[in-house]
Subunit: 292 residues, 2 copies
């Protein structure tokens, strides 16, 4: 079974404070975050490959398909099997496969990956996006309307989320090597946390869990990511119907642009009791004291 | 012209120390790291797409082709033009295109992207890698033999690199939103630094610059990355002939495995005067004092 961590020998070197003293070095065992490829197939045909931390692979595949606009409700997926090249099987109750690195998705009858999407993956989007830079051209259309989401969140609740996320990151604690995504209510209650070597995978695992438990769209929720906010992460939040995306670090320009277009509230640099709200500022209840 | 940063309005909120006091909020301008798609074409055919920070696009395309084992010396590339969908042109002296989001690469006569590689991109590697987890099956073969690289580096030099990299990160300073990669000699002299919203792009920009200036293989060099070390980054270092890869944060299991297989020295958690050496420990001159 593929674990989420892997043990390796390491030479730990520390430099002493005093000049001229030799460095101290000691061999010890160290836990690393596991990284392995997961191939996602739909209807027997390869769709994409991601380097991920094993675990929650069923959710990862399901969430990826939500993020690409292929599915939006539990019934859209007839089944997901985890295969190792020879054998396939259903995952355990926690979504862990323990079996292999292929997720084989069967969509409900009548639903298929759009030829355009499959082609865009087949050519890694290079043709479809070449020369396109506008949000309208790049973004995947969402079935959910974020602009209608009446969620409101206070700065106090937002400021407390990073500590809650960190406390819930079990694998990060042992490896220091994983991104995390946490889903919260607008009141700050933690609904789910997922960790992965790839930040996009951590979000897909959250979204896939939400799809499979019938929670989409994730109206009224806040998604917190441990790192930066890219275009891709904003797109995943929008496609899952999440009205507020908060990041501990900086957003990119295209992330802010897509958030603006989509009616998403984008919060960045959420740390140490302060934050930047880039878009959708009406959802953050701090307007009474606006100055400047 | 596409800039490396973009200005956006932001609501900055700070929570006061005292309980019950209202949050302070003020509108101000903020600089974000620019993120835009770059399509890479070879011989007129789409090969891949990456979300990157504009700038050094020619180097990015060249470095990507090194990382995939397509090219290894300057003469392998007959030319790279930057296009916007209608027009194409040569980049400025600093590699900035300012023209568009397509890099159109012409290889030297007789050289082509292997059908297998093109197919693996066309299917996003999902078939080729499905069910494969061994390093031998995943990794791209390198033309350079790292095991023969006699480079040696001291812990003192390594410990000083993160500060040097940070000092050289001009865009990060204004946006807080960019990964960086820095190339150093084993004596700690900075040779090049590149920044990007994607850490893999920052490394490709370094490698492409090195290819185009006739510096491959980068024997005796140390590559420092500002974040974590994934399988992909180790592969890029190996294909560029770099014997030492150091990361400020954690490596993944597959990164350590590929480094071991390839004879690469992999250093992680390089911060605050200490570091973990995962593989290739003979290159780090701290063995005299090994204990434990």
């Amino acid at each position: 079974m593929s674990g989420r961590t892997a043990r390796r020998r390491v030479l730990r070197i520390s430099l002493p404070g005093g000049a001229g003293e030799p460095a101290r070095a000691a061999e010890r065992a160290d836990l690393l975050a596991a990284e392995e490829p997961l191939g996602i197939r739909v209807g027997g045909e390869a769709l994409t490959l991601t380097m991920r931390t094993p675990g929650d692979d069923i959710d990862l595949a399901a969430g990826f398909l939500v993020s690409e606009g292929v599915v939006a409700e539990p019934a859209d997926i007839a089944g997901i099997m985890i295969c190792d090249g020879q054998r396939c099987g259903h995952a355990g109750h926690d979504g862990d496969s323990g079996m292999g690195n292929i997720a084989d998705v069967t969509l409900r009858p009548g639903l298929a990956v759009a030829a355009g999407l499959r082609r865009s993956f087949m050519t890694t989007s290079a043709c479809g996006v070449c020369g396109k830079t506008s949000i309208e051209e790049l973004a995947v259309a969402s079935r959910f309307d974020l602009a209608a989401d009446q969620a409101r969140v206070t700065p106090e609740v937002l400021a407390g989320l990073p500590d809650e996320l960190r406390a819930a990151q079990r694998v990060f604690e042992s490896t220091g090597g994983l991104h995390a995504a946490g889903l919260f209510t607008a009141a700050g209650q933690l609904l789910a946390v997922r960790e992965d070597v790839g930040r996009h995978n951590a979000v897909d695992k959250i979204v896939g869990w939400a799809l499979r438990s019938g929670r989409l769209p994730l109206s009224g929720c806040v998604l917190l990511v441990s790192g930066r906010a890219s275009f891709e992460l904003v797109q995943k939040a929008v496609l899952a119907g999440i009205p507020v995306l908060a990041a501990v670090s900086a957003p990119s320009s295209l992330a802010a642009d897509l958030a603006q277009e989509s009616g998403l509230t984008l919060v960045g640099f959420l740390r140490g009791g302060s934050m930047n709200v880039y878009t959708g500022q009406d959802r953050v209840l701090a307007r009474a004291d606006v100055s400047g």
